[in-house]
């Protein structure tokens, strides 16, 4: 079943720069897709349109049944509740503990305390940080902070996880750890779209790979066919 359908998508910024040209892309439920390409090729713009941080200039984007291009600003939260997003710079609240950072995503919906507690511990366990629940982000390594961000992104049980260069700030070993976590999440039937520069990881993971260049999709490698360039 298709989870993401993009048709004739074009994105032109107000500055006059066109970041995406005529993109057609379909991603099925439970897929793990890498989006790669040189700097400025439109990778981030593509993912930003998926979680409606940016609106396409033309074309249609359907994410889990929601027509993203037509979604009004005030209704964006409906989409965001169905997807999780992870960034290179983690975007954690520095003055809140690991537990609070993760619980935050549930608290705003008024979930009961017991439910929050159980879910937070479960996801922290999944990302291997159960013993750091009381620490503050500043007391954690980069890899650990990214795992907190992943835990926060998946706590609501999203069907889609978008990762924008999640290993961009991390060394090789830590990046591998993060990839293991993402793979475990993917096994739970969560679709994962990951933007990365790290071709080594892409090569090792043997997943579907979309190659962008100058705003156009130049290649779509099926699972296991990407050999690196």
């Amino acid at each position: 079943m298709e989870q993401i359908i993009m048709k004739d998508v074009k994105k032109r910024y107000k500055t006059g720069v066109t970041a995406i040209y005529d993109l057609d892309l379909t991603i099925k439920k439970g897929e793990f897709v890498f989006i790669i390409g040189p700097t400025g090729c439109g990778k981030s713009t593509l993912t930003k349109m998926l979680y409606r941080e940016e609106k396409p200039t033309s074309g249609t984007i359907n994410v889990g049944g929601i027509d993203v291009a037509k979604l009004r600003n005030s209704k964006v939260y409906k989409l965001r509740r169905k997807i999780g997003v992870v960034f290179q710079d983690f975007k954690l609240l520095p003055k809140a503990t690991v537990y609070e950072n993760v619980a935050f995503a549930l608290e705003i919906f008024g979930a009961p305390k017991d439910e929050i507690h159980a879910k937070v511990l479960k996801v922290l366990d999944l990302v291997g940080l159960k013993n750091k629940a009381k620490n503050y982000p500043g007391q954690l390594s980069g890899g650990e902070q990214q795992r907190v961000a992943i835990a926060r992104a998946i706590i609501n049980g999203p069907k889609l996880l978008i990762c924008d260069e999640p290993t961009g700030n991390l060394d090789d070993d830590t990046s591998k750890e993060i990839m293991k976590v993402l793979e475990a999440i993917n096994k739970l039937e969560t679709t994962i779209i990951m933007v990365t520069h790290n071709r080594k990881i892409v090569k090792e993971m043997k997943k579907r790979v979309i190659l962008l260049d100058a705003g156009r999709m130049v290649k779509d490698y099926a699972e296991g066919t990407y050999e690196g360039v």
Partner: protein
């Protein structure tokens, strides 16, 4: 239950956030405190000027002198005629005998001169003392009374009264404009300080949006925060207003410079001013926060 949990969480978070961002909270609170003190002073001044003007206006009376040879029936006819005039608030009849007695009681000299006067000798005139509802129309009422048959003369301080009324009007308008502009400046100042507080937390807002918080979800904790800042910011101005006004009132014996200028009695006046200050502070705190956070919610 869910709504209650969200509500409780919002209050808790707002409180935590005031404490966690203590330096910016302190900036907002002190800006509210200082501007409210100025607002308080201007409200007190305006209210006292208005009070003084109202007292003076209440004293304005149209003295209606009746003909010397007026008959008791005619006096009643004139009363009915006055009664029919629009804008007449009240009237009192003063017979010439009554006036004579009052004058004799008021001074020994008058007493010596007037004691031998009989009813026929009394040169004074019967009068109606008329008060009007709208002081601006005093001249219209006076003109109508003057036309009534049997009325010989009408006096209300014409010339001076009109000047006095227009001066009071001007003072009222100026002081109202000052209070209004101060409230606007306060709103602007407080909202800007809160904007700074919120700007420093734009990452937090973007994270909230990212994890699927609706605009209302995001706004409410900030609005509660504004409410807390408003409540805390109003404490000092309210205490200062209450104590200092009572102290000034007691120190000056309830009057300023002369017995003619009476100050507004402190109670319930200070409670009213405190309530206004509290209302402004809370409203401006909440509105300022709402306004500031709104800017960060445009995707």
């Amino acid at each position: 239950m869910r709504a209650f949990r969200i509500f409780a969480r919002n209050i808790r978070d707002a409180f935590i956030s005031v404490v966690r961002n203590i330096s910016l909270s302190a900036a907002s609170i002190s800006s509210i405190t200082i501007t409210l003190l100025v607002v308080s002073i201007s409200i007190i001044l305006t209210y006292n000027v208005d009070h003084f003007a109202t007292l003076v206006e209440k004293d304005i009376t149209i003295v209606t002198f009746l003909d010397k040879s007026i008959t008791p029936d005619k006096i009643l006819e004139i009363r009915d005629a006055i009664n029919k005039i629009d804008n007449v608030d009240s009237y009192v009849f003063n017979s010439k005998t009554q006036i004579l007695e009052e004058m004799m009681q008021s001074s020994e000299t008058f007493n010596n001169i007037m004691k031998d006067w009989t009813v026929e000798d009394n040169p004074l005139q019967d009068t109606y003392l008329v008060k009007v509802t709208d002081i601006k129309k005093v001249n219209e009422v006076a003109a109508k009374i003057k036309k009534i048959e049997g009325v010989s003369l009408v006096k209300y301080g014409e010339g001076i009264i009109e000047k006095l009324i227009s001066t009071f009007d001007m003072i009222r308008q100026i002081s109202l404009a000052i209070v209004a502009s101060l409230v606007i400046v306060t709103t602007f100042l407080i909202s800007n300080t809160i904007k700074l507080t919120i700007y420093s937390r734009k990452t937090e807002i973007s994270i909230m949006r990212l994890v699927g918080a609706s605009n209302i979800n995001i706004k409410i904790p900030f609005i509660f925060e504004g409410l807390f800042l408003g409540i805390i910011g109003s404490i000092i101005p309210i205490i200062v207003t209450m104590y200092s006004y009572v102290a000034i009132y007691e120190n000056f014996d309830g009057q300023m410079f002369s017995p003619f200028i009476k100050l507004v009695a402190p109670r319930p006046f200070i409670y009213l001013v405190s309530l206004i200050l509290f209302g402004i502070s809370v409203a401006v705190g909440m509105l300022g926060s709402w306004w500031a956070v709104r800017k960060h919610l445009k995707a």
